[in-house]
């Protein structure tokens, strides 16, 4: 294992200390329980957007704390969802009275822990909602399983909903927008190499010199299938077509009923992409793949989208939701409408994403 770290148990803590030292204008870090929060939190009258998840995906989520994006982020151990006390304390710290929206990637651990946090926050009288991100088309079956993972779409949802909250959207409006943006987004990832969880000390899986994993998530887990390594064009086309041709996707999610003070099941169906759709295209590095290779992917993605009647109207290219130092990339396409584009274009000032300010 070759990493720039000190003692393994201190990895997450020291990275957070570095963030705090580097970005005092944007954010602060609270330790025990650990959460990153906006330097100017709580922002009066504003719905607080909180996300979180295992560490190892940097800059997500801590790097997206700041004006126009997240109010707080709760980092767990590497690839391990954070605990409810982190989320609950973060919620109390950043809630201005307008309520808290938890953006939760769909992993059993994240879901269960954020559910507990929501219950705790509700118990304190904080208006709260949990919206799931589940966009990974590599996960096929949803009826009897944990369903699709939350991957690339998370970054876009955090940006868009963060801007909406900044613009004065209510908790319900933010929730509706988050749900819609999630339903508009679809992703798929691939790996050229495994990553190494510091505590494990060796790569999570082994890939031969001429192999790649297709349909990976963001936790160094193996993917849908292993294939012979092929060209950037073929990989891009294959992944883009899986996204574009993905059919309607139906699953049941749990959302919070503030009046009843309990969870209720909600069935959601995502419509497939259609000719004429205008999309945000997000080509993401898993950490070890340099941006130059992402441009080779983007070149082909642009071509494939055009050939399928889909117009890329915005793009994001770089390492934003990573798996430690894994080499590989993911592609996310998100259908847009005026509301989504308006909030995508709105100013954002975080260590990980910044424009317009």
């Amino acid at each position: 294992m070759k990493k720039l770290i000190n003692a393994i148990p201190d990895v997450v803590k020291e990275q957070l200390e570095g963030m705090a030292a580097a970005h005092p204008d944007e954010l602060k870090v609270h330790f025990e329980p650990n959460y990153v929060y906006r330097a100017d939190a709580p922002v009066a009258g504003k719905v607080a957007i909180i996300s979180g998840g295992g560490s190892g995906h940097e800059p997500m989520h801590g790097g997206f704390v700041g004006m126009g994006m997240l109010d707080a982020a709760c980092p767990g151990e590497v690839f391990t969802s954070p605990t409810p006390d982190q989320m609950y304390e973060a919620a109390k710290a950043v809630n201005s009275g307008a309520g808290v929206l938890f953006l939760v990637k769909n992993y059993t651990g994240d879901v269960l822990n954020f559910e507990t946090a929501a219950e705790l926050a509700h118990g304190d009288g904080i208006p709260v909602q949990n919206i799931l991100i589940d966009d990974d088309v590599a996960v096929k079956d949803s009826l009897y399983t944990a369903g699709r993972r939350g991957v690339g779409t998370t970054v876009l949802v955090e940006k868009i909903v963060g801007a909406a909250a900044e613009a004065g959207y209510s908790l319900d409006q933010c929730s509706d927008l988050a749900r819609k943006a999630n339903q508009y987004g679809r992703s798929m990832g691939m790996a050229l190499t495994s990553c190494t969880v510091p505590a494990a000390g060796k790569p999570t899986f082994e890939l031969g010199e001429n192999e790649m994993e297709i349909g990976i998530g963001i936790h160094g887990e193996p993917g849908q299938k292993r294939m012979p390594l092929t060209s950037a064009d073929e990989i891009t086309e294959m992944m883009a077509m899986e996204i574009i041709n993905d059919g309607a996707y139906t699953r049941v999610v749990r959302e919070w009923d503030r009046d009843a003070g309990d969870w209720y099941d909600k069935s959601l169906t995502d419509a497939p992409f259609q000719k004429g759709d205008k999309v945000i295209a997000f080509v993401n590095s898993m950490g070890g793949t340099p941006v130059s290779e992402l441009y080779a992917v983007y070149r082909k993605l642009d071509e494939v989208c055009k050939a399928n009647g889909i117009e890329i109207v915005r793009n994001l290219i770089g390492p934003y939701i990573t798996s430690l130092e894994m080499a590989g990339m993911s592609i996310t396409l998100m259908k847009t409408d005026d509301e989504i584009l308006k909030f995508w274009d709105a100013p954002v000032k975080t260590p990980g994403l910044r424009w317009g300010v």
């Binding site: 767990g76 151990e77 969802s81 006390d85 992993y107 059993t108 269960l112 822990n113 505590a199 887990e221």
Partner: protein, 211 residues
């Protein structure tokens, strides 16, 4: 042996701390194959915290002791196993209430409360390739043993044997819950890490009862 004492419960938890520490790499290795390579680290982190706090509650009633374990796991483990095992001990503690010792019937009640809690939280069905596949057969065997008139130790022996079998039986299953479900058919042929830690925890209880 007629009752399970508070001291035995405390010793169970101490043994669990040790056994999960010893099996840390093994559990993480199982989780590498079909998960994200952290189950051993997660459980070890949580039970180290439990070990720290145990002395402060060792003279409390069993309900309080188990609830402390549940709270500690919830706020230190994270992942899927944190809330699930947290719920296990919390609900077990609620079922134990203020008792200072447990009869065989009460042991069934406590563990049934614990397992029901996990199922309510995680909603996994038998055969989904999760910790439930060790916990549910264990509960069935424990209850059957006590109903048939066995004492706690005898029934617990059956329960642990059933948990071990249930753990091994996860190998041919395709996962439908948790992280392993993303692998689809590729999850077949690997033993579930959570079922394994459940077996280890129940086995630690058995060891404690033998003393």
């Amino acid at each position: 042996m007629t009752v399970v004492t508070r001291e035995q419960i405390v010793h169970w938890l101490e043994l669990t701390v040790t056994v999960l520490n010893e099996n840390k790499d093994y559990l993480t290795q199982l989780d590498s194959a079909i998960g994200d390579a952290d189950h051993g680290t997660n459980m070890d982190r949580g039970f180290r915290k439990v070990a720290e706090k145990l002395p402060t509650v060792a003279d409390k009633d069993i309900g309080n002791i188990l609830k402390m374990v549940g709270m500690t796991l919830i706020s230190s483990v994270g992942g899927a196993s944190g809330p699930l095992y947290g719920t296990f001990f919390q609900r077990g503690g609620m079922a134990a209430d203020a008792r200072e010792e447990l009869s065989a019937d009460e042991l069934v009640t406590v563990l049934q409360g614990a397992v029901d809690g996990v199922q309510a939280r995680g909603r996994a069905q038998p055969g989904d390739k999760t910790m439930m596949d060790a916990l549910l057969p264990a509960m069935a065997a424990l209850r059957a043993g006590v109903t048939a008139g066995k004492d706690s130790l005898g029934a617990m022996e059956d329960a642990v044997a059933a948990a071990e079998q249930g753990m091994k039986d996860t190998i041919p299953l395709q996962a439908r819950k948790g992280r392993a479900s993303y692998l689809g058919e590729r999850s077949i042929g690997h033993q579930d890490p959570g079922a394994t830690s459940s077996y280890l925890i129940l086995n630690a209880l058995l060891t404690a009862l033998k003393e």
